[in-house]
Amino acid sequence: MGHFIIRRLGYIAILLVLVSIVSFIIIQLPPGDWLSAYVTRLRVQGATINEEIIQGLKRQYGLDQPPVRQYFTWVSNLVQGDFGYSFSYSRPVKDLIIERLPATLGISVLTILVTYLIAIPIGIYSATHQYSVGDYVFTFLGFIGLSVPSFLLALILMFLGYKYFDLSVGGLYSPQYIGEPWDWDKFVDMLWHLPIPVLIIGLSGTTGLIRVLRGTLLDEIHRPYVDTARAKGLRERVLLYRYPVRIAINPLISTVGWLLPAMFSGQVIVSIVLNLPTVGPLLYEALRAQDTYLAGSIVMILSLFTLIGTLISDILLAIVDPRIRIEE
């Protein structure tokens, strides 16, 4: 196991180098750069900017350097923990990300917990009561949840929340608390704002999980080892959780790792619609504005999380399923 982890960490390092090159190229791919877009915007607004100022700014941001040089500057700084400087926010990338990290992680962790808490019991119920009224109801709701785009649902819930529950929709807290220091009232206010984003972000994941669990559990319930256990004289309930559920839960465990990157970037569109102060919208804006270092850093962190998440999944799966052998 030790060797396996060390080797995989080596692969992760190699992959990260490749990802950094590819993401840097892709971010640079559109014609022009952040500065030319910025200058155009200013000129449209009527400002006169001469070539000298542009050259000065280029030097200041390091954009006069050849792209390869820019890449190496960025990467060598990354390794030292310096994520670079955001053009559009005029602030260090690190500060921008850290600022949004608590809300991002908070919403994500809560969403994942709610997803599992809802999906696992319903999945088990649906599989053990196949073709019952309850199963059909959950199946129906599940397909709605899977097929309705979550941003649309966000808009509908915002409207309902505003109209009938007098909630100030959007954001994580009411306007009067923005920029205020944390106190009890602000915390309670935030709690009131959490359900809508958590439900919306979690919905498609929940319904997806229900389908997956129902499907695998239906397969497992009819396996011969269930009969073996029943023939021993086990109670039906004990039997269900000890054998088929225990095995049907494996695919869920093996996908735990994928949640890690999802936790970081979240659902971009929903976050934009709901005006949530998370990393997702930040990435979106950075990509639009060709804010190279901000976008690049977020992509790098996402990649790192994806790779680590996959590693965690592999390790977990090897722990829960003895049939999976890790090559030494």
Binding site: R223, P224, Y225, D227, T228, A229, R230, A231, K232, G233, L234, R235, E236, Y243, R246, I247, N250, V320, D321, P322, R323
Partner: protein, 337 residues
């Protein structure tokens, strides 16, 4: 003759499907004496497995044991208990499963949980019925693994099923079934998935264990050779009914039902002239859905005559211990109620 340990009376297990009622087991009567091995033989689809599973109440919807069926278990001179009447999730049923009646299944690979250790799976049965002490249950598991002749039983306790060979896995299944010293062991084609040499070892092991543990065995198979080795009494099943039953010698030496006779002609014999062709029974076993009331084997029978296509023969005991369901031997007609 002593009172039978297990007495199956008019067992009918029906599957209620959209296409109609599939009568997988249709009026089976069987007696299993203490210490006896009863072989049930039949082709795929004859209902022998469903019959075995019915005794353990392992038949799941849409399958149901029809009203009027009786599965009477009499242990230690107590009043017989009708397993067919017990509620599916009752304690009484759980007390029978694994403790009084155990079952070994066909596929030792899929019949063991892939994610639990062998030791746990055996000890679990002991923990349910015999002891509350984990150490003791583990000791029982170790003892049973030793009894079924597994080399290195200590290490096997900690092994997962996929780490064992097919033969060893079937030995583990047997060890698990023996955990609580059951009175009846139901073996549903336990050697079918195994190599011939391993088959023979397992059969010999089961015969030994039957005597050591004082069990009765209900042995389900489609293999006449296996029946000849292990069973004292044989019941031949066809389409959910018993067509002939007798002791093993009589079945092999004087088979009376045309189906039994053709089954016997379809086994290869070493030393038989190679030019002689092996006989196959014409046709296949039909699906027992909406069967007309007549001899069920008539369509595939070479000796069938007009009566066979109009009325159903009854199972008649012509000689003591030898019953046949065929108009060639008795004109008695089965009454349908």
């Amino acid at each position: 003759m002593p009172a039978p340990l297990l007495s199956i009376r008019n067992l009918r297990t029906y599957f209620h499907l959209d296409e109609g009622v599939l009568k997988a087991v249709d009026g089976v009567n069987l007696d299993l004496q203490p210490g006896q091995t009863l072989g049930i033989i039949g082709e795929s689809g004859s209902g022998k497995s469903v019959m075995a599973r019915s005794v353990m109440r392992l038949v799941m919807p849409p399958g149901r044991i029809a009203a009027g069926s009786q599965i009477l278990l009499s242990v230690d001179g107590k009043d017989p208990l009708d397993i067919a009447q017990l509620p599916f999730e009752s304690k009484a049923l759980r007390q029978i499963r694994g403790r009084l009646i155990s079952m070994i299944f066909q596929e030792p690979m899929t019949s063991l949980s892939p994610v639990h250790k062998v030791g746990f799976q055996i000890a679990e049965a002991a923990l349910l019925h015999v002891t509350k002490d984990r150490k003791e249950a583990r000791a029982i598991a170790l003892d049973r693994l030793t009894r079924v002749g597994i080399p290195n039983p200590e290490r096997t306790l900690e092994a997962y099923p996929h780490e064992l060979s097919g033969g060893l896995r079937q030995r583990v299944m047997i060890a698990m079934a023996l955990a609580c010293r059951p009175k009846v062991l139901i073996a549903d084609e336990p050697t079918t998935a195994l190599d011939v040499t391993v088959q023979w070892q397992i059969l010999r092991l089961m015969a030994e264990l039957r005597d050591d543990f004082g069990m009765s065995i209900l042995y389900i198979t489609h293999d006449l050779g296996v029946v000849a080795q292990i069973a004292e009494t044989v019941a031949v099943m066809y389409l959910g009914q018993i067509v002939e039953t007798a002791d093993v010698l009589t079945i092999f030496e004087h088979p009376q039902h045309p189906y039994t006779q053709s089954l016997l002609r379809s086994i290869p014999h070493v030393g038989r002239r190679s030019r002689e062709r092996l006989e196959a029974i014409a046709g296949t076993v039909p699906m027992p859905i909406n069967l007309p009331v007549r001899c069920r084997f008539a369509d595939r029978c070479q000796s069938a005559f007009s009566d066979c296509f109009e009325v159903a023969p009854a199972l008649v005991e012509g000689q003591p211990g030898h019953a046949v369901r065929c108009f060639l031997h008795s004109k008695e007609i089965e009454q349908h109620g």
